[in-house]
Symmetry: C3
Subunit: 256 residues, 3 copies
């Protein structure tokens, strides 16, 4: 177990020394771990972005992977830090809902970290990533019984994601994620035909793949998140449409 | 072979979960691989940028390295995905020319991926990085015979890079790459003396190293790409000159 | 020693192929090394930023780690390249002071790299990262006696960081580091009570953790650098206050 794969997902950026300090602490606890960056570009303190990111990425990892997630607007307050056994994998994450878009029926155990024996000797109030998450991860990779970290708990913060609203021949949803290409991922199911209205733009061209329409065309398609996506071919739909997370999106049925 | 070094070069950015999902799929196929990020900041769908990047970086890698390259405006269309044996190394790349600035006389074998037995069970039309490239890479790292992936092919897309034009005592070229410092890499051979004209600016100070002129000076020198480079000492020549890939550059000989 | 941990800290960004080329050269010298990115987003040629970064990160790493640092405005000039034994760790860094905020009483040996036998055969004047640092790192990881790299030296560049000035019931300091969240790290000791004045703003709310005040509040607290920090809760103090490295900060005592 000593060469455990530990992934890191943070909103720290890499201009700052925070990620590097975390890596140093983990490696000082267990020099044999294999560290893997998932992202340090989660938008600052954006729990919802982190939740979509994790739900799309973590299910692909092999059993026993330990994911360390630090997107934590509540650092230093009474919010808990959690150890989670999810499916065959393990997570360390703040208790702010950022990991709860992962299928909750696969949660096998949740522990609240309360035992400072596995933290750094002095714990700052601003940098739990270095002082709590990193040494806990290092110790877990050495085979520490998770029960040593603290008590099992039965309740934790859940992230509430807006659902779609179905009206007469219309589905009202919104943009729930914007990727680095400016593609707009919505919460609208992908299987329904119709015209998408976003802002004052109506988009009726449905494609299977970006390359099916000429550059610059606004299209809809099924995203790799398995929901309806709005894209500009070889362009940036978010910029073109002035859209962001939360922008309303309406699907008008073929009859309307 | 199971701890194969697999490098990743994409235009995905890391705010999105796409790179993380690819890493998960590769590691789920073969948990022993060693993953190495080359870049996820290739400008979106910029095949030419990717081609310069790869030509400058890949020749330095050791034998047997497997490079996974996903800069792919044609995802989901009929463009092929290629397995390439280049010199002593191996590549997986879309067939859009992005890898063809690597010396083509060192190409030993090119295979078109057609066998879905080595892809994910459901292949999305928007995310071949996760669904085709990643499982193919994982399987190759486990020792899969590349011949299982598909048939050997003899023709593939080639990237055409503008050449320089030589006129009376002038060489007409252009900017072919802009690095993160704003240095302008041209396609003009480095060995010729003269004055460089770019926009309405004439630059005659030739140096061997940036530090030979005071901060803020516009200079020319031999780039690490072995062509003529235009730089602002401790500054950003691209911003200062309003230059980008494709900006014309003229070298006027000593006599003019 | 062959699976040595080698970390990389540069100002190269990853849009350019420079970091990838360095990784290739290191791995071609020793395919067994474990490479770890610390940052490639050090602001271009910002020695002071690099120095704070390294002082905050490197002390956390385990013994025998080899850190390769390329933030090097003087590349190609006569500035030296150094091999440093610091505490139980090792560094390769340009001789421009970028590593000298690490406790200098833990410096055990400094060598100037003068022996081209351990460089690439052709050394460019613009890319010592690839041509000198990378092969030297690879060779050290293979067990090369550092004495082979060049002579021991007794003097090297030191970075001079502004100190605070203590006047009548006031401490005059400045911003010394701005992190990715826009938090302002100052050089003022954290233990003194009082009001912080920056620009035309007076900040008197002192907290222990960001989460103790409502979003948008300007607060001061003890940074993870163990100095006084100015932050906007869930916001960006640098942007809000128009502050940057060097912005004056005054601490007014309780009596004033």
């Amino acid at each position: 177990m000593s060469d455990t794969l530990i992934t890191l997902t943070t909103d720290f950026g890499t201009k700052s020394p925070y990620v590097a300090a975390m890596k140093g602490v983990i490696l000082s606890t267990n020099p044999a771990v294999r560290l893997l960056d998932l992202s340090h570009e989660i938008p600052p303190q954006d729990i919802r972005h982190a939740a979509f990111f994790l739900a799309a990425a973590l299910p692909h990892f092999p059993a026993e992977t330990l994911h360390v997630i630090v997107v934590d607007p509540g650092v230093g307050t009474e919010r808990a830090i959690l150890y989670v056994e999810w499916d065959t994998q393990r997570l360390l994450a703040p208790d702010n809902g950022c990991w709860t878009l992962l299928a909750q029926d696969a949660v096998r155990k949740v522990i609240r970290l309360t035992n400072p024996a596995y933290w750094r000797h002095v714990v700052s109030r601003t940098f739990h990533g270095r002082d709590v998450f990193a040494p806990a991860a290092g110790n877990l990779s050495l085979g520490l019984d998770p029960g040593e970290l603290g008590p099992i708990i039965a309740n934790w913060e859940q992230l509430h994601i807006p659902g779609v609203e179905i009206r007469l021949e219309e589905v009202h949803g919104e943009v729930v994620f914007v990727d680095d290409f400016g593609n707009l991922i919505t919460n609208i199911p992908p299987g329904v035909a119709g015209t998408i209205v976003i802002g004052d733009m109506a988009i009726s061209q449905r494609v299977s793949a970006y390359g099916e329409a000429p550059p610059g065309t606004l299209v809809t398609l099924t995203s790799s998140f398995e929901t309806l996506e709005i894209a500009e071919v070889q362009g940036n739909a978010a910029r073109r449409l002035g859209a962001a997370v939360g922008t309303p999106v309406v699907l008008r049925g073929a009859a309307s």
